[in-house]
Structure formats: structure tokens, C-alpha cells
């Protein structure tokens, strides 16, 4: 795997050390009034961005931390995130 990921605790490491945790879709929606379809969408629907997306990774073979990075899915490269969180 050519991907490298920068763990906030351990620094830049080979992608083999990490486990993918999916796109960052935000915290789960509140259960009250949630339809099965809406819940299923939250759990299983992905945006599959061709470009830069924010996603979760776990430094499984290191410190065990979950953190999010920005990755360019077309080049499989970690990239700097947007300056402002609302981008």
C-alpha cells in the first residue's frame, strides 16, 4: 500500500498500520422519530467522493487512536485539510 497516514500521536506511518473507519458522516442521528430508511442511509450510504474527502482512521498497530484525515481518493494521498471546517 502506497498510502501514508499521519497519526496525530505517532506521526506519519505506512498505511498498513491503520484501519479504515469510513467517511466522516458526523455523529449518528437522534433515535427519536428516525425512519428505518434514514437510519440505513446513515449507516450504509456513502458519498464516495472522487476527490478530497474527510474520513476516519484508526492507528490499529500503533497507539489505537481514532482520528480523521483528508484524503484525495483519486490519487490515494493524504492531503492537508481545508482551512475552515465548514468547507
Amino acid at each position: 500500500m502506497a498510502l501514508t497516514i499521519t497519526c496525530p500521536i505517532c506521526g506519519k506511518r505506512s498505511g498498513y498500520e491503520f484501519r479504515f473507519g469510513g467517511e466522516d458522516k458526523g455523529p449518528p442521528p437522534q433515535a427519536a422519530g428516525l425512519t428505518p430508511a434514514a437510519w440505513c442511509d446513515y449507516v450504509h450510504r456513502n458519498n464516495c467522493v472522487a476527490g478530497v474527502q474527510k474520513e476516519w482512521w484508526c492507528h490499529r498497530q500503533g497507539c489505537g487512536t481514532w482520528f480523521s484525515i483528508y484524503r484525495d481518493t483519486t490519487k490515494n494521498l493524504e492531503v492537508a485539510g481545508p482551512q475552515s471546517e465548514d468547507v
Binding site: A2, T4, G21, G26, A31, W39, R60, W66, K75, N76
Partner: protein, 973 residues
């Protein structure tokens, strides 16, 4: 054949003889020979027969650019003879021949080539359809490369290494070596990869002067010596690059020599910066019968003599497009090869110093002439040369034709890394543009010809790589740039592609037998993009991976195409760049598993060990596969199970309870000190993934267990599902820190009370209780009363280092009761009789908590906890369309138990048997099954299918669970 002796450039040791067996006969060579050079020196000219037409093929390059010299070595097919060193006693066989390469009974296929146009395989035999299987069988028999026997075993060790470097340099020619020295001088860690077995590149075999008194080969060896002495340069020779990925990840494989501990090894390098100095290969000359044995590239003929001491033949003709060809002709003439003439496809532009040297040796020089046709039925006998218009012709007798149209750069690594290749009209090369950051190209691949300029461009690239590593070398870089600007830049190269030919056998690709006629045919059919023409004709898809066809194909397409704005563009390159053994990718198979602290005791007690996830565990301790004696010992006496593989965790901190509430379905606020609490975890779909017990050790401090299979993932799981919350808790995986003994059976208490310092009576330590004891005043034990096997039992958790001691103490204490081990098989039957589930046996990925009848554990009123799976559990609560877990017995108690996993059928499949065993306690088989809802009612008949039942379905009926001790008296004793 006599070898040239005493040449300073030789890479063979003539003093040591080696021999191989080829086609049943013994051949002798010298140490340092490759299979190809040894056979060539012994007069072999035809090495193989081609894929489709069974045309004779011979030595063409020396770097494995085509499958011409693929042979079978010690039963391994498709071994490239050109880069395989001879080992004593090697057994070599030709491949894809019926007979011998000289006399191949399939040679008539060449006459049938009219019946095999490009794509015939797809277009001819599909109608009528019944013809296809017959055609396929015959085509596969006649066409192809070597064949692999299914039971052949690859000898040797296949290894992998993963080094890291500051600067990785691909190619150890003059540019690569200079780059390595420049980077090493800055104290950086340098890795140098070279596909040939020695350093030097195209300096290595040439005697032309670099500077007065310094021939090129000496200069090459001088640089190589400096490299070998630098402690911070790691050199990988005989190492071919196969891949080049983002973030400068380079993959390669190295062939081991006799001194190495590996036959081949996979090398994966991560570098801060990469220099690609792969140089050039020769672009083949297209003319009629350009594949006849005896025709070879300039480098092949020159290196054969200079490196291996073998003259290519008696009488040679040269038809070349580069100064290297004229230089080779002069040198080979001086070494004793008779040269009939040298034709140069360039009408002008050659080094003016060279033609007079030809003249001085009486070698006729034909600028603007080219080989148009090779003659000879099997091997080359003579050649027709023509001027470029094809009007004048002249024939020359010869046994060797050195042919090449010009040079072409080796851009594979750069293209893989994302560079684009653009045709350059000055050099005639496909030059890389848009090279990714921290990657640099250097040397001859940029079109440079002057040896000093090549070295300097390597030094420049090396310095730029140094700058990538964050060192301040800007001033040095500018200095080198200025110096390089004063030296000759890229030279004008030959753009010649195809000779004026008339026949039908001008091969663009040797591997796949693709001629220019096939390309023309594809274009007539409307294919206009090189990529598509490549796929339709299969040109460049053979093992040589476009080494021969790669750049001639797009040039020929562009030349032939009528559209004026069509730019030649090479086809996409993909890894692996060179053929690699799958064994090299697979590496050494290390069967690794974890052992519990009492593994030795288990084995010594006769345990039949098996792999359970990462662990070695004892299946049973008796010869009987049903483990009857172990089961009965637990039911009536006392047994011991090594359960150390259970997942064990401590979670503590102010938010520990919140985290437990998040992942466990039940109300974890009820977990208290001194008691065990059973619960389960689900995923977001409500599917059950784990179950276990938890207790509170102190305030905000909990201890819990998971199943063996989830031990590795639980920390990650809890942290994942609390990742948005920023809660304050810590989780520690104690799985390997604690061993577990399950002491079970009616006599368990009598054994335990002999060794612990506290009361273990039913009142003092009731069912589901949790106590901490000291054993013999020294061993701290966490004891819990659980009932997985359905008898009075104590699960003892003890620090791993004490595990063996506790095991021995319990064995000794239990001796008077004849205490005995039990294994997984006994435990499985014991818990089945109790209707206790094992997740993974009684559930699969889609099974919810409701499906296995444990829905009552779900605490629906803790919405604020946002328990994982709660939403789905609520949504599927009343879903009747799902499989349900039921207990069953056979209608005939005398029948045997069905096999685990057997489908339950009624017109179609309605479920399956999860686990079924003969119960010695109940004297009949019992089992659990997942079935459709309508079959789940009590007393419903289940009909079970087994693979070999021949229509005789087994009949069972649904019964309530547990089967054994339904009120649970025995575990509460």
C-alpha cells in the same frame, strides 16, 4: 566455441567450469554464464518456438525483453534464460515445441498464419457454439509458452524486506551512480537498485575513452568502487523494479545468488525522494523476418563479446540507427568478428569521428540504408539491404545481423508514478512530463549522449533529491545546473520505424506473434487508438511487457494513420513491470499462532491441538472424537478447561460507564461490585457480534470479558463508537495478561476450597458472584461463578505468569477426585445441552439479537446512551420474516445427529442446523437451528438435508430449550 580470453571487461571466471543439461544433453560453460550465454556459446541459435506460428526464435536482447529465450528450468516454465545464472546441474528444457526447437512438428503453423489474423480467437470459432470447446482445446495445446505441472514444487526460500531510505535511485548506470554518490555525500541513507547483476550500466562493457587514458568501463568500475565503499549506500544488484506508487513507494524483486539465503525476495522501499536513471533500451528495427535467430540488438552482440567473451557469429551485417552501433561494429571487428557492412538508417548526424574508423578497417558504410529482409529457412543466412526509398537493393551473406532502429528511454517507473509521456521530435523519444514531486529523472533517458553530461545530470538529480530531504544545497544545485548547460544537451535521435517491406512477417511484437499486417488490419477495422489496437492484436501483452513492442507500436500507428493531428502516445504501463514469481509476492509462509500460558501442559496431557483464530487450543484429550469421557467427567465429577483465549478488558475513568452503555445492549448501570452481569454487543444493524460478562472492580472501574474472536477488536470498537464524544475513559486489553481456568463439575467447590483463602460456599459465593482470592497466600485470583457448561463452575482469572502454577496447584488439589482436563469439543456439547449460544456458531453476520432469542437483554429505555444497534433492534423487533433460533431433537431418538450446517428444507431451504451433537446426559441427539419463523413453533417438524442423503431427509422436531437441567439447579448448587 572458443571464448575470448583476457578482455578487461569480462564478467565471467573462465577458470571455473559449470555445466547444465539441455534437451537431454550436457553443455559446458564458465562461472558467470547465464543460461542464454552458455547455450549460445555452445552453438544454440534456436531457443524456442513462437506463441502462435511456432517460428524459430533466438537470442535477441540480454535483459529479458521478450519471451524468445524463455525455457523450462528444473520443471519451472517461463524462466528467462537471459538473466538466470547457470547453476551446476541445472536441467533446462525448451518449451512450446513438439520435438526440439530445431525440428518442431508444429512448425507448419507458420504456413497457416493467413488463417490466424488478429482477433481470430474471438471472431471465428463462436459460431456454431459447439465448435468452441473443440477449438479452445486445440488452440490451447498448440499456442502458448511453457506448461506448469500442478504438482511441481518451487525450491528455495522466498523472502521479503521493507527498507526505508532518504533517497532511492533506480538504475546504477553512470547517472544513477553519480546521483547515489551525491546523496551519500550529504550523509543521507541511499538505496540503489540495479536490474543487472553488477553496477555500471552502459559504461560497463565499452572501451571507448571517457577521458584520455580512462576507458568507459574503467570509469564505471571506479564509480562502482566508490559506491561499494560508502557505508550509507545500500546496493541491491540483480533487482528489477516492478512497481512505483504514490508517496514514493518502490517495489522490486531481487534474485539471490548462491551466497544469498533467498532464491528471490520482494523488496518494498519507502523513500523521501526518488531518482529514476533507468537509461534506454534499443527500439527494434521493423523489417521482413526480423525475428530470425541470428538477428540481435547492438547491446546484445556487444555485451555478448565484451561481458561474456562470446562472439555472436562469423560474419555480421549491421543495420543500426545509433552511434552505439558503429562503435560496436568497430570494437567487434577488432575482437575478430568479420563485418560485411554497416548500414545506418540515419543519412547524416552520426559522430564524424566514427566513419573514418570503419574505413580504416575496410568495413563498407551505408548511411541511409536499412535491412529490408532477412533470409534463411530457420536461422539467418543472408540479408537484403535497401536504401530508404526501397529502390536500390543489395544482398549480403551473414550469420549475424545486428539490427536496431535507435534508442528509446525506459520510462516505466516514471509512468507508473503518474508522469505523462510526450513524443519529442528532437530525440524521437517519449519523454516524461509532469513528473510527481520528489521524483527526478536523470541520464540517458533524457536524451543525453555525452558521458560527462550523463554523470552530471545524475549528480544534479541526486542533489535535488537531497534538497527534497530538507537540506540546504540550493547553491550547489545552481552551480551544477550551470556546468551542465555548458555540456552537450539531448542529441538528435533516429525516428526511423519501418523498412520498406513487402512480405507479411514483420514483427512488432515477438511474444504474441503480432506483425505490422495485424496492426494494419486492426486499423482497417476502425481501431484508431493505440490502446485498443494493443488489445485487439495483443501486441505488447506478453511477458516482455512491451519491451519490444512498447514504443514501436504507437510510432507505427501514428506513422500509418492518415489523421495529421494524431500524436503518438505509448500505451499505459502497469505493474509488475517485469514478470515476477507469485512465490516472491507470497513470501515465506510463517505459520504463526498464539499459545496460552499452559500450552505445554495441554500438549503433555494428550491434547489434540487446533487453530482457533490466532490461538492454539485443545479440541479434546481422549481418542474418542465425541469426547464422551470428558463430558461425563464434568457432569458427574470435576474438569478443568484452559479458557485463556477469552477477551479480557479493564475500562476505567469518569466516562467508563457511558462507554459501556454505548456498546452493550443492556443497562450497564446495573453492573455492581461482587456480581457478574451478562450482556451482548450489536453492530449498527442490530446484528449480534459479541457477548460476555462484566463486573465493577471499583468506582468507575470495570472488568469485562469478550469472546475469543472479538478480543482483538473490542478496544477499537469502543473507541470508534465514542469517537465524537470526547469522553474521558481508558480501555486496556488484558487478554494476554490474564490466563483463565474454568473449573467445572459437582466437585469443583471441593477442589477450590482446598487452595483459596476465602469462603466458597453457595451462601458466601453464590451463582453469578465475583470474588477475589489469594491462592496459597501468593497468587491473586479473580473468581467468577458462571454456568456456561451448566454445572457448578468457577472461572478463575489469574495473571499469566501465575497461570501454570495455578494449573498445577488445582491438578494436585483435584487428584483425590481424579480431576481431568476437558477441551473445546466437550465444552461445545456441554453448553449445547444447556442451550447456550456461541456467537459464530448459532449466529452469522446477519443474525440479530432478536433472532437468537436474546432480545430481552436489550434495554429499550436508555435512549440517551445511543446504544450501538438500538435503533435497528427497535426497527426489527416485530419482524416476522427473519430466521429464529430453535432447539430440536430427532423424531427417532435412535437417529444420529445431523451434521453442523446442514440445510433445513421444505420445498426450498428454510434454515440450517447450527450445532447438533449426541447428548450423553439425555441419551439422544440434540441441536440448535436457525429456521424461518413459521417453523419456529414448538413440535414443528424440521426436515434436514445432507449432501449424501440420497433424498432421505432426516426428521427432527422443535423442542423447548434448555435440553438439560431446564431450571438451572445444577449451576446454582
Amino acid at each position: 566455441m572458443k571464448r575470448l580470453a583476457g578482455l578487461p571487461t569480462l564478467r565471467v571466471n573462465s577458470a571455473r567450469a559449470v555445466s547444465i543439461e539441455y534437451d537431454g544433453k550436457r553443455f559446458h560453460g564458465v562461472e558467470g554464464d547465464t543460461v542464454a550465454t552458455l547455450l549460445y556459446a555452445n552453438g544454440t541459435r534456436i531457443f524456442s518456438r513462437s506463441l502462435k506460428y511456432h517460428r524459430p526464435r533466438g537470442l535477441y536482447s540480454l535483459d529479458g525483453q521478450s519471451s524468445n529465450t524463455y525455457v523450462d528450468v528444473d520443471d519451472i516454465p517461463n524462466v528467462c534464460a537471459e538473466n538466470t545464472f547457470v547453476g551446476n546441474g541445472m536441467r533446462v528444457e525448451p518449451q512450446n515445441v513438439l520435438g526440439t526447437p530445431e525440428h518442431d512438428w508444429m512448425a507448419f503453423m507458420d504456413k497457416l498464419s493467413w488463417a490466424m489474423p488478429a482477433g481470430f480467437y474471438y471472431t471465428i470459432f463462436h459460431k456454431p457454439a459447439r465448435l468452441w470447446p473443440i477449438a479452445v482445446r486445440h488452440i490451447r495445446k498448440t499456442a502458448g509458452l511453457g506448461s506448469l505441472s500442478p504438482d511441481v514444487e518451487l525450491r528455495g526460500r522466498f523472502d521479503q524486506i521493507y527498507p526505508a531510505a532518504d533517497v532511492c535511485i533506480i538504475g546504477a548506470g553512470p547517472a544513477g551512480m553519480s546521483a547515489a554518490l551525491a546523496a551519500a555525500a550529504q550523509k543521507l541513507r541511499v538505496i540503489l537498485l540495479e536490474s543487472r547483476p553488477w553496477l555500471g550500466g552502459y559504461f560497463d562493457y565499452r572501451t571507448r575513452n571517457h577521458k584520455p587514458g580512462m576507458p568507459l568501463y574503467l570509469r564505471g568500475r571506479q564509480l562502482a568502487d566508490q559506491l561499494e565503499q560508502a557505508p550509507n549506500i545500500r546496493i541491491f544488484k540483480h533487482t528489477a523494479v516492478i512497481g512505483c506508487y504514490s508517496n514514493n513507494l518502490i517495489t522490486a524483486f531481487q534474485r539471490g545468488s548462491e551466497a544469498d539465503c533467498f532464491a528471490e525476495r520482494y523488496v518494498q522501499i519507502r523513500a523521501e525522494s526518488v531518482v529514476v536513471a533507468t537509461g534506454c533500451i534499443e527500439r527494434p528495427l521493423l523489417f521482413e523476418n526480423n525475428d530470425r535467430p541470428g538477428i540481435m540488438q547492438i547491446g546484445c552482440a556487444h555485451r555478448l563479446a565484451r561481458t561474456w567473451g562470446v562472439l555472436a557469429g562469423e560474419q555480421a551485417v549491421f543495420s543500426i540507427g545509433h552511434d552505439l552501433g558503429i562503435e560496436a561494429a568497430i570494437d567487434l571487428h577488432d575482437l575478430g568478428l568479420s563485418i560485411a557492412c554497416v548500414a545506418d538508417v540515419r543519412e547524416d548526424g552520426c559522430d564524424p569521428a566514427l566513419p573514418p574508423q570503419l574505413e580504416a578497417r575496410n568495413i563498407p558504410f551505408y548511411p541511409g540504408w536499412v535491412a529490408a529482409k532477412a533470409h534463411g529457412r530457420k536461422v539467418l543466412k543472408k540479408v537484403t539491404l535497401t536504401n530508404l526509398s526501397g529502390v536500390c537493393k543489395q544482398q549480403f551473406d551473414c550469420d549475424t545481423l545486428v539490427a536496431s532502429a535507435g534508442l528509446t528511454p525506459v520510462t516505466g517507473p516514471l509512468a507508473l508514478a503518474g508522469a505523462r509521456l510526450e513524443y519529442d521530435a528532437h530525440t524521437g523519444y517519449f519523454l516524461p512530463t509532469g513528473i510527481p514531486q520528489k521524483m527526478h529523472a536523470a541520464g540517458r533517458m533524457l536524451g543525453l549522449e555525452d558521458p560527462t553530461a550523463i554523470e552530471l545530470s545524475g549528480r544534479l538529480a541526486g542533489l535535488r533529491a537531497v534538497a527534497d530531504c530538507g537540506m540546504a544545497v540550493g547553491a550547489t544545485i545552481s552551480g551544477v545546473e550551470e556546468e551542465l548547460a555548458k555540456l552537450p544537451g539531448p542529441a538528435r535521435g533516429s525516428k526511423f520505424v519501418v523498412a520498406p517491406v513487402e512480405g507479411k512477417k514483420t514483427f512488432v511484437c515477438f511474444d504474441e506473434d503480432v506483425t505490422i499486417q495485424n496492426i494494419d488490419q486492426a486499423m482497417r477495422l476502425g481501431f484508431d487508438v493505440t490502446e485498443l489496437i494493443k488489445r485487439f492484436t495483443s501486441a505488447g501483452t506478453g511477458p516482455g511487457q512491451g519491451g519490444i513492442a512498447g514504443h514501436n507500436l504507437p510510432l507505427y500507428v501514428a506513422l500509418t494513420h492518415r489523421s495529421p493531428d494524431l500524436h503518438p502516445r505509448p500505451t499505459t504501463v502497469r505493474p509488475p513491470l517485469v514478470p515476477t514469481l507469485l512465490a516472491t509476492y507470497a513470501g515465506t509462509n510463517h505459520p504463526m499462532s498464539k499459545r496460552t500460558p499452559v500450552h505445554a501442559s495441554q500438549v503433555a496431557a494428550g491434547g489434540v491441538m487446533e487453530r482457533l483464530q490466532p490461538w492454539q487450543r485443545a479440541r479434546r484429550f481422549c481418542a474418542d472424537t465425541t469426547a464422551r469421557a470428558e463430558i461425563e467427567n464434568v457432569r458427574t465429577n470435576v474438569g478443568m478447561l484452559d479458557a485463556s483465549t477469552l477477551g479480557k478488558f479493564r475500562i476505567f475513568g469518569p466516562d467508563a460507564l457511558k462507554a459501556l452503555q454505548r456498546v452493550y445492549v443492556s443497562d450497564m448501570a446495573r453492573v455492581s461490585t461482587g456480581r457478574m452481569y451478562y450482556s451482548a454487543m450489536c453492530n449498527e444493524d442490530g446484528c449480534v457480534i459479541d457477548d460476555g460478562v462484566a463486573t465493577q472492580i471499583a468506582e468507575n472501574d470495570y472488568y469485562f470479558t469478550t469472546s475469543t474472536g472479538r478480543a482483538g477488536e473490542t478496544s477499537e470498537w469502543i473507541r470508534y463508537h465514542t469517537r465524537y464524544d470526547r469522553w474521558d475513559f481508558h480501555i486496556i486489553n488484558l487478554t494476554d495478561a490474564y490466563g483463565v481456568i474454568n473449573l467445572a463439575g459437582p466437585n469443583a467447590r471441593k477442589v477450590l476450597e482446598k487452595v483459596v483463602d476465602g469462603a466458597v460456599s453457595n451462601e458466601a459465593f453464590p451463582f453469578l458472584g465475583f470474588r477475589e482470592f489469594m491462592v496459597h497466600g501468593a497468587i491473586p485470583v479473580r473468581a467468577m461463578r458462571l454456568g456456561f457448561v451448566g454445572e457448578l463452575s468457577f472461572e478463575l482469572h489469574v495473571p499469566s505468569s501465575y497461570m501454570q502454577s495455578l494449573w498445577d496447584i488445582l491438578e494436585e488439589a483435584g487428584e483425590e477426585f481424579a480431576i481431568w482436563n476437558f477441551g473445546l469439543e466437550a465444552q461445545n456439547t456441554l453448553r449445547l445441552e444447556k442451550g447456550h449460544v456461541i456467537l459464530g456458531s448459532e449466529s452469522e453476520q446477519r443474525t440479530t439479537l432478536h433472532d437468537i432469542g436474546l432480545g430481552f437483554f436489550w434495554h429499550r429505555d436508555k435512549l440517551e446512551a445511543q446504544t450501538v444497534g438500538a435503533v435497528a433492534l427497535k426497527q426489527t423487533e416485530n419482524d416476522t420474516s427473519r430466521l429464529k433460533l430453535v432447539g430440536f431433537k430427532m423424531e427417532e431418538p435412535a437417529a444420529r445427529a445431523p451434521r453442523d450446517g446442514s440445510p433445513i428444507v421444505a420445498e426450498r431451504i428454510r434454515g440450517y442446523v447450527c450445532t447438533a451433537r449426541y447428548s450423553y446426559a439425555l441419551k439422544e441427539p440434540v441441536g440448535m437451528a436457525l429456521v424461518e419463523g413459521y417453523l419456529a413453533k414448538n413440535a414443528t417438524r424440521l426436515t434436514i438435508f445432507e449432501d449424501d442423503c440420497k433424498g432421505e431427509l432426516m426428521k427432527a422436531k422443535v423442542v423447548p430449550m434448555p435440553f438439560y437441567d431446564p431450571t438451572g439447579k445444577r449451576m446454582r448448587m
